[in-house]
Amino acid sequence: VRFLLTPDALWLLGFGLAPAALACAVCTPAVRGQSGWLFGAAMTLIGTLGVFGLQDGASFLIAWEVMSFGGAVMILSEKLPADAARPVLFMLGLLEIGAVALVGVVLLLGFRAPNFDFAGFSITAAELPVALTILTGLLLIIGFGAKLGLLPFYEWFPGAYSSGSGASGALLSGVVLNAAYFGLSRGLLNWLPNPTSPGVPELGAFLLVIGVLTAVLTALYAFQEEDWRSLLSFSSAENASIAVAMLGAAMMFRGDGQQDLASLAWMVALLHLAGHALAKGGLFLTADGVYRATGGYSIFHSDLLRRSSWVFGVGALFAAMSLSAMPPQAGFVSEWYVFQTVFQGFHLSTLAGRLTMALAGAGLALTVAVAFATFVKVFGIGLLGRSTRGVAAVSPTTATVVGLLGLSLLILAVGMPAWLDGLRVAVASEFGTEAASQMHDGLLLVPLTAKFAFISPTLLVIVMPLLALIPIALIVAHRRYAVRYAPVWYGGFDQDPERASTTALTFSNAMRTFYSFVYRPTEVIETEAHGPEYFIHRLRFTHDVAPIFGPYLFAPAIRTVYYLAQKLRALQSGHLNFYLALIGGLLVIILALTLP
């Protein structure tokens, strides 16, 4: 068995392992099932390493399954909700669809070769007709897209993630997501034939469109969530989709002969996933801190920011800033590069390509705006929101790991010129260009040329505190005016800031109304009254947003499986003679197939 970790694999693995290491050190907050969780985490990590490093189809598929199995073991052993089995089974079902697609790819590309070694895949692919090339590409997108959460597969994310802890989420959204992206990138760029061959650039355009559509939908759904884990899970699918969209852009540029721009898009995806793994790990571990302090994962006014260590607050703030693309964090840098790459679409020679890039830019702009609002909601309500309830502070251990991940995000952003040099070998071996060194001009970050645009998070870190001197000076200058405190009008009711404050539901109400054609929200109010209906004893309010693919795609598929299972039960009749007849029939078929 051949094992090789390429520089891009090590990049994605390294950044994915940083939150994984801290999640393993902190362990799951579930009281029971730590043993099973640690076993699942070990399986996940071993499987992930196999996905990154194994170089033949058969062992790769085994590693892929071990990785999925480890994730399911982690979630199931935690037993956080009583009914975790159903969403995990749904996850495994969709992941198996992906696994079958990957088996199809391995068979298609390895069938004519002497063995299943990846080195022979590209040689086989070069001889494939266009239809089979496109089929291989689509199977790769389905196979890895099931794990990355490309549409329609993202619908397993909220159920499965919210059945586990934040520690499980830190592994699944970090190193596992990176491994799935690496597999897709390797398959589409290295296994498919010549990038200019018919069908290959079109696959890139398809991937760009799917990536952007998924990013828009998952960003919209993330905004409506009120559970830390399901919100963050949708956000993971969104960020993976942005990286996938960049991979599609890389394929389009490469198909057009623009190697420099292709390598820019490819590197941007790697930068984005690196920052995402750190930030998402930080927020998933923040969610575990919330669980340990409040006993649940709901986003509500917990007053945790004021009660906990400042290290926790700074770490969570940096992570939220990065995921909402606020300067100077790593997420800001990578999303700035994402837009710079899409803006370079005018270099493409075809009108369709240019138009696709322009529309992708518009879709990504919507995604980023919604993501910004989402993390304002998470941080503003989930951590900053004041409360008079007696909630415990986040433990010093959680505060330290969240703080470390937040700090690592800042280090990634500030040291970006140096980090880019770390990708020089990877991009040179993949595209044969020097794009890594062209992406920065000293401390300035540039999209290959300084004439188009530039930013510098390194300098921003120095300038931003200097800008803070202006409001400080204004405060100092106006100190002679006494501050007057007056009660706030509460609509005639008693003063109760907690009751009057914005909840997670009301925060997202405007978007829920405006995009009701996507969300199709439902609200049910049930009242119970003793005697006349005016004297309400209990009021039960439930609300939800409808999934897009669940009722139309997955529910009929599940019904079909149940129907087939019921019909096939006839085979399990319990009669020995019937089983012997079946075996006899199979022997006759085998003989008929082999004897001629």
């Binding site: 970790l5 990049w11 801290l22 050190a25 099973g36 640690l38 990590l45």
Partner: protein
Amino acid sequence: LTSDVIAAGVIAWAVAAITSLTQRGLIVARILLFAGCIALIAAAIAVNR
């Protein structure tokens, strides 16, 4: 040296998987999982430099 570090990390994870199955080995498993991750991060930095 890098391949040795990677191999050490994998062995640490495999041993962690085994020790996690016993109640007394939970702390050992946590330490080994953490150490394996750190070893591989170190290898990643060494190669990409």
